[in-house]
Amino acid sequence: MRFKSLLQSAPRHLIALGLAASIALGGAGAATALAAPAHPALPTCTRTDVKCVIAFGDQRIDERTAALTKLNDKANAQVAAGHITSSQASAIQADVTSNQSGLTALKSKLDAETDATAARQDVKTIYTQFRIFAVMLPRDYHEIVLDIMTNVQAKLVGLEPKLQQAIASAPADEQAQLNALYSDFTAKLGAASTQITNANGLVSYFTPSNFDNNLATYRTNWLNFRTAELAGRADLRQAASDLHQMAKILKPSATPAATATPTA
């Protein structure tokens, strides 16, 4: 019984806990990059073993190139599904292309090194110049989320005249409920718009340069970005739920009354 009541009260607590943990993890993910635990397969190259350093660097570059390809595939899949536009995806694709080109050039340079110190400097460049895992991938994956949110928000706003028209034509006994849902719907869309604008306004700050030179501000902005994104998503989710309820009430009655069957 106690377990049952715990389960019933769990969702609210879990959501709050999940949000807090998600923000904390997201912020910490980027912020603790420099203090991350040692690589599990860290090789110990001798001071002059240039081949060993090159092999290590090549592996790190390959990891990043593969991760960038995956990001590109994800963006393309969202375009194919119609959830982001080609124009929105092109910003991410351009990021992927330029970083992959840069990494390929760096790999050529690294592979041609004959001096271990120079090779080590090239390996360092993988981190300092590109920051693929610390900066680029988190930022661009979150941009996809923001793009989807932007498009959903615009779609819902565009639906407002249709909803008003449908509510005006609805039976009188449904009007009060529909108007209450519509009022919440517009309020949540307004709130979502503010949060999306706030989050979008911070995206340009997330660069390798700011990560290396202004880490404290970077952390603060990242946290604010994630908070705005999560709040905006919650607002959109509520607006979508309002729409779903209104759609259920406003179900079209084109089918003949005699053969109409109630839907779940």
Binding site: G29, F133, L137, P138, P252
Partner: protein
């Protein structure tokens, strides 16, 4: 003369019989076609039967069109929100992978 009249009436009768046979044949052919076409359409959903209830419905027209558009938009928005959840998972994974940016140089 009588013989000639008899021959003429025989020819008339033969013509009548031929006409009757032709008409009967035509009836059989057209009747068959009619039945065949009826059988072909009976296997398909009848458009007339579905259109009749629609015309007798009360809420057809612009209000139903708006309601249908709302249903469609609702479905699209639900799909997009699910997609946003998936994209959010990818973004969270990217956050946790940030630790791979560990600056390790061997």
């Amino acid at each position: 003369m009588n013989r000639g009249n008899r021959n003429a009436s025989r020819q008339k009768n033969a013509l009548r019989a031929a006409l009757v046979l032709l008409m009967l044949a035509a009836l059989v052919v057209f009747g068959g076609c009619g039945l065949r076409s009826h059988n072909t359409t009976s296997g398909q959903p009848s458009q007339q039967t579905t259109s009749q209830p629609t015309s007798s419905g009360q809420n057809t027209g612009s209000s139903n069109s708006a309601a249908q558009q709302i249903q469609d938009a609702d479905q699209q928005v639900q799909d997009a929100m699910q997609s946003a959840d998936g994209a959010q998972n990818d973004a969270n994974n990217a956050n946790t992978q940030a630790g791979q940016e560990n600056n390790i140089v061997p």
